[in-house]
């Protein structure tokens, strides 16, 4: 028997406007409200609303159908503000009891790599928001961009989670398949769910590629591939961006029809089923131990962190961001802390990526800037304004002390 475990990533960053050096000290309007609203509404119309509708139909029609989402805090915030109907439709899905919400950093950040303290605070903040909006408490963790290694797994186990999610890394798995539940090296209880990137990417990336030998991808064909796992695996982890539906793959590619009919086709085989990540962790024993020492992610061909931290602009800007973390917290200013935290979102660093020529089109997607250099300039100008705000605070404190 084999189960499909669906996890969809839902995230929208607060994109920065072209905050100029002449704005520093004059205003703190770092974020491009108009553009963020516009993109949020556009993606809601093309993806979130229609896909949620399909999901709800599927959940009603198939009592065995289950899915999971990880929705960043900044995305949820924007839904509340710009697209409350999207939030409502997610709530409705969760109410079915067969839709799991995963845990992540509120700001979709790389905080784990730079500050454990900030990381924990962002995870807790996200957990609170999920509790408030959906009245559930997540038990499975997924780190930003599936950034993962043994140490992260161990840390997450310490935070009480039952499972963690990673890319299906070939060099870690070796001859083993991602279609089992594993145990991260050096951990005691936590389970590891690894993405089946081949089958996931068949939907997320290749679905509409007419140059692909398997095009067009039908539910029958995909089910055949999934059934082939029977006997050699227990679980197929289909992890992808939710924007796959209607945004990366446009409606006219037939992606919604594919989604609408996949569960029915897959469930024709009596041994097939669906699980959520938490159920998978409960249902399946760890098949083996997987040792992943180096930091990995689900990005690009390299599956490393070079899309966020590959060049000097990325490295220096994130370093300078976290240097002021302590001061920002000491300032005891909610708005300042929130502005700073919105800068921790990984997308800002992604936009600064200069390895364009190989993986260009994916990086350009949703990029509000013409160039990585402009992204860096806007980010650094914002950060310098934050530093100026901190200096002004310090001044006040000094005056008080005197």
């Amino acid at each position: 028997m084999v189960d499909i475990c669906f996890y969809f990533q839902v995230h929208q960053p607060y994109r920065l406007r072209q905050y100029s050096v002449f704005d520093i000290g004059n205003n703190h309007n770092y974020f491009d409200e108009e553009k963020n609203r516009e993109i949020c509404l556009k993606v809601a119309r093309k993806c979130y609303l229609p896909t949620n509708l399909v999901m709800l139909e599927l959940l009603k029609r198939h009592p065995d159908f289950k899915i999971s989402y990880s929705i960043s805090g900044v995305a949820l915030e924007q839904f509340e503000e710009y697209a409350p109907d999207v939030l409502e439709s997610f709530k409705e899905l969760v109410k079915t009891g067969r839709v799991e919400i995963l845990s992540e950093t509120y700001y979709h950040s790389l905080a784990y790599l730079y500050s454990k303290e900030e990381f924990i605070e962002q995870v807790e903040k996200h957990k609170k928001l999920v509790k408030r909006l959906f009245n559930v408490t997540p038990t499975v963790f997924r780190n930003t961009e599936l950034i993962y290694n043994n140490e992260i797994a161990k840390f997450i186990e310490g935070m009480g989670y039952k499972a963690i999610i990673s890319e299906g890394l070939d060099n870690a798995l070796g001859w083993r398949s991602p279609n089992f539940v594993y145990r991260p090296y050096t951990t005691d209880k936590i389970k590891l769910l690894m993405k089946n990137y081949r089958l996931s990417d068949d939907i997320a990336f290749r679905f509409s590629n007419k140059g692909w030998a398997e095009w067009p991808l039908t539910v029958e064909k995909f089910t055949q591939w999934a059934n082939a796992v029977n006997g050699s695996g227990e679980i197929i982890n289909l992890f992808m961006d939710y924007e796959t539906f209607g945004e990366h793959q446009w409606e006219d590619t037939g992606i919604f029809e594919f989604l609408r009919h996949l569960p029915n086709e897959f469930l024709k085989h009596p041994d097939n089923g669906f699980v959520t990540p938490t159920e998978a962790a409960r249902k399946f024993n760890a098949h083996d131990v997987v040792d992943i020492h180096n930091l990995s992610s689900w990005a690009d061909i390299e599956r490393d962190l070079s899309a966020w931290l590959g060049n000097k602009m990325q490295q220096s800007s994130i370093k300078e961001l976290y240097i002021v973390e302590k001061l920002v917290k000491e300032a005891n200013d909610k708005k300042l802390l929130d502005d700073w935290r919105k800068l921790t979102t990984s997308d800002h660093f992604y936009y600064m990526c200069t390895k364009w020529f190989a993986d260009g089109d994916v990086h350009k997607y949703f990029n509000p800037y013409d160039s990585p250099y402009d992204s860096f300039i806007a980010f650094m100008n914002c950060l310098n304004d934050i530093i100026l705000r901190l200096k002004e605070k310090d001044l006040k404190i000094e005056i008080k002390d005197n």
């Binding site: 072209q18 100029s20 050096v21 002449f22 060049n311 000097k312 602009m313 490295q315 220096s316 800007s317 200069t354 364009w356 013409d370 160039s371 250099y373 402009d374 860096f376 300039i377 650094m380 100008n381």
Partner: protein
């Protein structure tokens, strides 16, 4: 394949980018075994070039009445600027003082007359003309030989004059573009200008972006020690003609804004032109006298020295058909800030970019480049790496394809 090429300047006799572009194209074509006869108004005695057969109309046969066409017309002059040019740039250029004609249009007529003789005597498969001064010569050659005519446009009259074209010149431009079998534009920017200004259909215009000559020995020389700035000043460079088209006034305005944020920044304006006195005054008026240096027109090694002493090269052009200088800067390891109103900004990824009129954005990016070392490092490294993409072979390859297409048109 044999090409009869009509041009106006060819290094070392040149005043700007057109000469370099012609020479580089000729070199690239010659490396692909294309025979080129290059006709220009004046070639000094005993001067030759390894890649082309240079014909100066001044050296034509006896039965041609005018022996020398030592025109002072440069592609960048309009009639108004003629006398000024006569007194400055061109004397320095050729070292001769008394051979120039009096009327720029007269010069072109003489050059075009000479084309009759050359077009009859030479053997060629295709005619290639560079900018409006040579278009009439091309039309004449085509009418004599029936060979296909390729009209290359390096800059339109609208680019040169900021939208106030000289009627005679724009008419000549129009005639040449109409008569041509194929038009080559050096960028999509130029192509769009040609389509807008002259209503030439898109299908007739092919775009060939320029490359640079990697063999130029200057690129391998280190001139950094010769920089006059020894105290770690940040140097921002403007290099080009100081004329309306190149946007020097936007540079000066931006410099003023930069100065408030980066007090140790220095600005160098390298070039000459009709706006130079005004720019010097403007800099003084804005209190930049000590921080903005005017070097005058630079050539040869001095150009490379200027690039290498600069931290950032700014090209604030109002209308820049291509902008080869930007590639030279990148090749010299100096990153660039390019106006969006340029052809080169279409093809270069690793550059800062701005609209020329937005001096706040220009200043913002200059300041960022000077203040954030990580930006400077990544930009420098990536723009140098990208400069390697632009060689002489790719434009030559595309040009040969165009020759073949034109020859097919003409059966």
């Amino acid at each position: 394949m044999k090409v009869l090429m009509f041009g106006w300047e060819f290094p070392p006799i040149k005043s700007g980018g057109l000469g370099t572009a012609c020479k580089d194209l000729a070199k690239g074509l010659s490396n692909r075994d294309i025979d080129i006869t290059f006709v220009m108004p004046y070639v000094p005695e005993n001067h030759a070039d390894e890649h082309v057969n240079l014909i100066g109309t001044n050296r034509l046969a006896k039965n041609f009445t005018v022996k020398k066409i030592n025109s002072i017309l440069t592609p960048y002059q309009t009639t108004d600027q003629y006398s000024e040019a006569k007194n400055t740039i061109l004397y320095a250029k050729t070292g001769q003082k008394d051979v120039y004609g009096k009327d720029i249009f007269n010069e072109i007529e003489r050059y075009s007359e000479a084309a009759k003789i050359i077009a009859t005597e030479e053997d060629y498969d295709v005619i290639h003309v560079h900018d409006w001064m040579t278009y009439k010569a091309g039309i004449i050659a085509k009418s004599i030989s029936g060979k296909p005519l390729v009209a290359h446009i390096h800059a339109t009259e609208f680019d040169r004059t900021g939208g106030n074209p000289n009627d005679f010149i724009s008419h000549r431009e129009y005639e040449g573009l109409m008569a041509a079998d194929i038009v080559i534009a050096n960028s999509n920017f130029t192509k769009n200008n040609v389509m807008k200004a002259y209503n030439i259909p898109s299908e007739k215009i092919d775009v060939v972006h320029w490359g640079i000559d990697e063999d130029n020995p200057h690129y391998n020389l280190n001139y950094k020690d010769e920089s006059p700035f020894k105290n770690g000043e940040k140097v921002v460079l403007f290099l080009g003609r100081v004329t309306l088209q190149k946007g020097p006034d936007y540079f000066v305005d931006a410099a003023r804004k930069v100065k408030d944020h980066v007090p140790d920044a220095k600005f160098v304006v390298a070039g000459s032109g009709d706006m130079l006195p005004r720019m010097i005054e403007k800099a003084a008026h804005l209190g930049l006298s000590n921080d903005m240096l005017f070097s005058g027109f630079l050539k040869g090694a001095d150009v490379h020295k200027a690039f290498q002493m600069a931290d950032l090269y700014v090209m604030p052009s109002v209308s820049e058909p291509f902008g080869l200088v930007a590639l030279e800067s990148m090749k010299n390891n100096t990153p660039t800030l390019l106006s969006n109103q340029s052809g080169v900004s279409e093809v270069v990824t690793n550059a800062l970019k701005t609209d020329f009129w937005d001096t706040n954005s220009m200043a913002n990016k200059i300041i960022a480049a000077l203040k954030y070392p990580a930006l400077m490092e990544d930009l420098t490294e990536n723009s140098f790496a990208e400069s390697k993409k632009f060689n002489l072979d790719e434009p030559a390859r595309k040009t040969i394809d165009i020759y073949n297409k034109a020859m097919n048109f003409c059966g």
